[in-house]
Symmetry: C2
Subunit: 220 residues, 2 copies
Amino acid sequence: MFLSFTEENYLKAIYHLSEDGKIDVSTNAISDALNTKPASVSDMLKKLSQKEVINYIKYQGVSLTPSGKKIALQIIRKHRLWEVFLVEKLKFNWDEVHEIAEQLEHIQSNLLIERLDEFLGFPPFDPHGDPIPNERGEMKAKKHTPLSETDLHNQGKVIGLKETSPLFLQYLDKAGIYIGAKIKVMDKIEFDGSLEILIDNKKTILVSSEVAKNILIAES
Amino acid sequence: MFLSFTEENYLKAIYHLSEDGKIDVSTNAISDALNTKPASVSDMLKKLSQKEVINYIKYQGVSLTPSGKKIALQIIRKHRLWEVFLVEKLKFNWDEVHEIAEQLEHIQSNLLIERLDEFLGFPPFDPHGDPIPNERGEMKAKKHTPLSETDLHNQGKVIGLKETSPLFLQYLDKAGIYIGAKIKVMDKIEFDGSLEILIDNKKTILVSSEVAKNILIAES
DNA sequence: ATGAAAATTTAGGTTTGTCTAAAAAAAAGT
DNA sequence: ACTTTTTTTTAGACAAACCTAAATTTTCAT
């Protein structure tokens, strides 16, 4: 199925908007996301509906069909792999890559993207911590963030570490932090970026910003 | 100056068509190159002329203005750098990359292309032997091809070597082949790919396909 | 439940880049 | 030089993706 650059962007927007639990996505939400007018969105929804990539009932919002979802996930896969490339290989900062990846995600070539994936060592996450879908659009992992960037009072679970030196692992063990532990950030100390965290609803400890940067959290 | 994807392709086509010594490029030549009808080309030429990237007099063909040429060379720079990336990093064959590079060449980001250039080690040539223009659109070198792929009876000059081991250099010295030597391929032996070559219009020798692959020729 | 507000769709129009058919200009042959 | 052929341009249309303005449907508040 061939979709234009623009059609692909609509599918991607609908996918992202329905990620937040929403089953049906509204016309206005799409027009906001894409910076177009609601009237333009109505036109496009009719077209995408004919191509059977969305379920659309007038005045009632849209959802992706299985084939639409698959296409959306392929675009997201491409976007996130290119972001990894830009950050890992071309030394961009993680906050500079979005715009360029928005363009690169529309390059058409399956072989290209599989080769890129391989070249990058099959990364499971993009530089923002978002998981990268595989060729079949499957995405097991959840988004993760360094503990240092987790929001105050948000409950999360330890899902990985950036640093794995014995010294660091010993420290974590002593502190009672392990993969799977529930963590809640109780306070952030402005002065040195250190955090007061609650572990498994039992114990409160203080960790330095250096430690917090190396613990990956899946927020819930 | 912002040009659309399509406008960029017109400039590139005009550049390539005027490479063969042609001062003025014809409407039909452009329509052939871009697979459009001459009528469409006429429309576009009017538009590009208004943007002052081409010199256009009705019924008399077109040429690029300095600013148009600069844009064309930037696109060619991008195209060739991406080709190097695809071949060197993603292990594509040199004959598989053109179509993908046709898409990648339109990605907008100067920073991206400078970072890519650096990442690739500032390559002077693309995988087809064509020179890569610098940021200012300057391109000193000429196209080069391995001697093994040079056309029969074509006159050329040795401009480089792929292999530089002492043994190979000694061999070349003995054979009378040096950087700058004039070489003409007199015959190709099908059986093993070896070549009969005329050096400096004086001496005829036989070189193996292995040797021929490692000598770079600028055809004239 | 009904009238106002908000959301959405339709109607009609624009721009970009394409097309076909017809007209005009240039080139080529005799 | 003058006709024929080729090349190029103009005229008028179309599809994609957008817009504004107006109409319609849904939702929300009283």
